[in-house]
Amino acid sequence: MFDILSYFTDPVLRGPTIGSILMCVTSSIMGVIVYLQKRALVGETLSHAAYPGVIVGLLCSVSLFHFEEANPLLALFGGAITGSLALYLLTVLTKRFRIKSDSALCIVLASFFGIGILLISMVQLTHGGLYKQAEGYLFGQAATMGDIHITLYFVLALIVALAVTLLYKELQLALFDANYAKILAIPSFSSIIFVLIVTSIVVGIRSVGVILMSAMLIAPAVSARQFVHKLSHLFWLSPLFGALSALLGNVFSYEITKALSQDRSGGKIVLPTGPTIVLVASSLCLLSLLFAPKRGLVSRLWRIASFRMTCAKENLLKYLWRHKSGSSEESLYTFLAINPLVLRPLLLYTRLQGWIEYKNGHYHLSKDGEAKAARIVRLHRLWEVYLVDYVGLGARSVHSSAEEMEHILTPELEYELTELLKDPMWDPHQQPIPPKGFLR
């Protein structure tokens, strides 16, 4: 029985679900900042760089402080230290040694990760129990999170959210006018951002893992960016996407694992939570890239297609208006620069609308169609008059511009043009301009 509420109340499911949601909220808040700074891949480097620190933290908690279990706080702390170190090295490499930022990112990433692997091979020998845990940080281990993690992550999420709220104005300034922010000398502001970024990454690697962490910074921010264009809205929407992917990731991972283990007894197939969360987040991102109302690819293509359709329709009406005796289908195909695949449905559509009629193998304009065509011709010629009288172009060179503008001019603009030009009767080529509200 599927019950979404049980993910928040069940003592076993509660830890992973709420923990991942908190973690995703934290990282997607910081993701907005990183994305707007155009440094999306910094997260990738930092999360890998946190790995040796995490292992050292785990080691310390067992061998130095003699905790029974590895302490998550110490692991986080170790990760934060190496993460910050990596961030510092990045700036040194790019600023002092003028190494290209992409090379610097890669070098730091691979070096720290390699050292992490070196450490882990040492841990494998000395602390066999820790090895499993240290491996868990690679792909994340959401399933083993408990109430202690929820408390810890809640506090960290709160800190990040509070910091962003309190520093909102400064953030806005630093993101959109970095030079001005520098002039105002907002003290050590970038270091605060750095600390917050490192914190959010270190929180995240427990459930999503070192390798996939950067997705949780980028994907929610990119999805949110498709829908809104105000910074404050971004800071609301991006965590929402993050939380949704965490929840769905947990649900899918748990339900599919359950379904698979019922199906085949014996074989232990586990859908790991971390990669599932990442997949959900990137599917959400893909969906918003495609279908977001204004910036989405599909809606953009749709707008382009419908504008082309309008142009084709208006050109057809205009053509028929010029050939009052009617025109056969063949000549339409020949003289209109419209793809036959488009023209055929267009003819059907305009006939159904009652704008054109089909008589004796010829297409004619109907009364309605004539009014429509006349308006287009009127717009065309009004624009030509405007260009000649007000812009001062020669009468010969205005046709092509008018050919485009006739599809764009709105009734309001038509009214303004009529007022401005005092409702002219003739266009620059001595052709009559159809009067307003023309009907023959």
Binding site: Y35, K38, R39, A40, L41, G43, E44, H48, L93, R96, F97, I99, K100, D102, S103, L105, C106, I107, L109, A110, S111, F113, G114, I115, G116, I117, L118, L119, I120, S121, M122, L125, E135, L138, F139, I211, L212, S214, A215, I218, A219, A221, V222, L260, G267, K268, I269, V270, L271, P272, G274, P275, T276, V278, L279, S282, C285, L289, R295, L297
Partner: protein, 321 residues
């Protein structure tokens, strides 16, 4: 019996030289590791030069992640067709297919997201590789029923190398050398004067795709020994060391290759040394990367010293221009 057992850093090399001159088969594990690592690091160092010069390092990072999906698909196909036990030790044609497919698909998706989707370039790289990597992990988990295989592909395991890996690493090294020498002029032109290259009819896209395919082949040859992520160190650190030390492309290529080969020799020897003297079986891949980063840090320090010396030099102001 393995003659390297019980050798330390220096006796490792004397044993190696002795073995070289006596020229006796068969190869021992240390020698296989040595050959594979040298082959891999030479391929990486050569192709890495162009990678860093063309600012494609992060694309290579993306590739090193997405290659897991390619490998997983090739692995499934291989197991389906030939029905063998679960191991990533696949024959060359499968690996080749996986590499080419991943190289092209990764580049294509990233460009598509960047150009058509209007996402920042870095962000589109980030989204593509994390998604494909997550898919790869899920695919492996669902089909291989062995989560450890995924971890092994990430970490690499030098000790699991066999002679079959030599048969993969060396041909890919040869291919790298061949292609990079043949197309040296074109690469040079399109890297340093892309507009002129375009005017002459060399498509930048074609070169980018070709280079990406070459890189993904290199990553494929390396993933069993050093893992898909540490390969990045081999790809970027030696060329950057070369770049920091010289301004000439030829010297940069030579330096990069030299650093790659030397460090991989040292890492195998050092790993044997640590095992003999301290009883520490460390990951040779990790050791290799650690040594590389040490070399990189030393180069940086050297540069720093050289610059300060130059600043203090009394001739500084007298230099022409």
């Amino acid at each position: 019996m393995n003659p390297y057992t019980g050798t330390n850093f220096f006796t490792f090399f004397t044993t190696l030289i002795g073995r070289l001159f006596s020229f006796s088969a068969p190869l021992f594990p240390d020698e296989i590791q040595l050959i594979v690592l040298v082959g891999v690091s030479l391929s990486c160092a050569l192709v890495g030069v162009w990678l860093t010069l063309r600012k494609m390092a992060m694309l290579a990072n993306a590739l090193s992640h997405t290659i897991l999906l390619g490998i997983a698909i090739a692995f499934l196909l291989w197991r389906q067709l030939e029905g063998l036990e679960a191991s990533f030790q696949m024959p060359l044609p499968y690996l080749f297919g996986a590499a080419v497919l991943t190289g092209v698909v990764t580049t294509l998706l990233t460009t598509l997201l960047h150009k058509q989707g209007g996402v920042q370039e870095e962000a589109s790289i980030g989204i593509v590789f994390t998604t494909l990597f997550a898919l790869g992990i899920l695919l492996i988990n669902l089909t291989a029923r062995n989560a450890h295989i995924g971890i092994e592909a990430v970490m690499g395991n030098v000790d699991a190398l066999t002679f079959d890996d030599v048969k993969i690493a060396l041909p890919i090294m040869g291919l790298n050398i061949l292609i990079l020498t043949l197309f040296h002029k074109e690469l040079l032109l399109s890297t340093f004067d892309s507009s002129y290259a375009k005017a002459l009819g060399y498509s930048g896209h074609f070169i980018t795709y070709g280079l990406m395919t070459l890189i993904s082949l290199t990553v494929v040859s390396a993933f069993r020994s050093v893992g898909v992520i540490m390969v990045l160190a081999l790809l970027t650190i030696p060329p950057t060391i070369g770049r920091l030390l010289t301004h000439s492309l030829k010297k940069m290529v030579l330096l990069s290759a030299l650093v790659g080969i030397l460090i991989s020799l040292f890492s195998v020897a050092l790993s044997r040394h640590l095992l003999t003297e301290f009883g520490l079986p460390l990951s040779t891949g990790g050791l290799l990367v650690a040594l590389l980063s040490c070399a990189f840090a030393l180069t940086c320090l050297y540069r720093l010293g050289a610059r300060q010396k130059k600043m203090r030099s009394p001739h500084r102001l007298k230099q022409p221009h």
